[in-house]
Symmetry: C2
Subunit: 311 residues, 2 copies
Amino acid sequence: MTVVALAGGVGGARLCEGLQAVLPPGDLAVVVNTGDDTERHGLLVCPDHDTVLYTLAGIADPTQGWGIAGESWTVMDRLAELGEETWFRLGDRDIATHIARTARLRAGARLTEVSLAIQAALGVRSRILPMSDTPVRTRVLSDDGWLAFQDYFVRLRQAPEVRAVSFDGADDAEPTPEVVGALDAASILVICPSNPIVSVGPILAIRGLRDAIRGARARGVRTAAVSPIVGGKALKGPADRMLASLGHEVSAVGVARLYAGLVDVFVIDAEDAALAPAVEDLGMRALVTDTIMVDAGARARVARETLAALG
Amino acid sequence: MTVVALAGGVGGARLCEGLQAVLPPGDLAVVVNTGDDTERHGLLVCPDHDTVLYTLAGIADPTQGWGIAGESWTVMDRLAELGEETWFRLGDRDIATHIARTARLRAGARLTEVSLAIQAALGVRSRILPMSDTPVRTRVLSDDGWLAFQDYFVRLRQAPEVRAVSFDGADDAEPTPEVVGALDAASILVICPSNPIVSVGPILAIRGLRDAIRGARARGVRTAAVSPIVGGKALKGPADRMLASLGHEVSAVGVARLYAGLVDVFVIDAEDAALAPAVEDLGMRALVTDTIMVDAGARARVARETLAALG
């Protein structure tokens, strides 16, 4: 059973950890959002890829939702001394990832090749595939104008209301051979509990990728999505406020509506059990379970139940 | 009294430290060799600039002749894990220098601007001026063919015999406005005890810079050079073997001969006192003193005596 997961950052990484735990080695391919990617100090930083990378390598910081456990900050402190901006914090081990990645890209390698080599070096037994090898950059429209995603997300701590989002480069981006190959080989597709607007949104904004997903579904690939909204709130991040300011219903049903026609099973939390009929009205089956993935056991359980629901 | 020093790595940095100690703040400009510069992991590393930088900032590693005292190696260890080459060791604080430099160059700044900003951030009160803003790259011809300088110097530990040297890019390189300005303002020029072939050689290989030095001398600027060869041996590095394999006399006289017509005073070690007449036969005055700069006191003394000899 080959599974392709679509994922953004923390919530996505947790379900991927569960999927990796319950699947045979090599059976999981994760397509990650690259719309959050950003150049910091001349180095390409891929936050969603790296959160999934460090999580699947078992070295993710357990509390802060990004970076590597037990990091040191020597380079960052020095960069601050040299007058570099430091609102986007990068640990020493993490910086090595960005240095190696940027050097190899500048030497002509594709982002996917570079990413797979770094994953292999860290002993990750799943494939984490950037959604595209060419840059796609998410921007959000605030009341003060357009903001680069990390300006909004990290520098301004998601304070501005988001009036619109844009995925620059998505129109020209092609799905990679690796993503197309993974979708061709997949029997199951899982949309992780990531922000539907700015984590899953950019992935689905790549026309060729959306077409490949529709092609996979036409061939019988079954799809599940796990709601990132529980009890009307995002488990992490600004998904709830973003759904609201963009005119969507702030609930599991609001997310399910965004995925209508794309998924067979929609997983909602026990707390939202009353929403199951409204989800099923959208033409998908509702799976009601405890979706809060506090530890490895919970992550594996949610993964197992999600896969089982697809039969 | 404005002094311009021409310097390469360790020996040059030591005399510069002495010059900075005995001159009023701001009166020293150091023109550094950039022929040793190299791109490591996509980052521009400027070994001679940085050795002078860290020495003049008072943070140089006191024993190894490069890098910052008390360094940590977290990034390098991680780069090794990621499969990057690691024969050129870079400490964490040092890497911050290369990251900031490379980012600012890529953003369009000149190497000189970037270097001066980094020096200011580290509180250096002299100016350290790259000999050129455009790349000049030293290569050496070994019996196995041409080698990039750091391949020869670090990776192969200077084992190959050097049959020829080449300064790629020197023909097209222009002296910077800052170097020209410093030479225009100078009353004294000091050639540091650096390798005459591959440290001072690249500086003098830039035609415009050599012309500017000749112009300064024509205006009455007096020049001293300090021998890097004592008792027929290089104090550090491969200068002695390089002089031999390139057909030069391996002695202070051999070095003086390379600078004939350029210097007024040539400083040789007390151990080489017997060579003074041969030096003076080349049309320069020989200053005989203890040139071994073991500590800050000795560095200041050599600087003071050298300046006094030109007085």
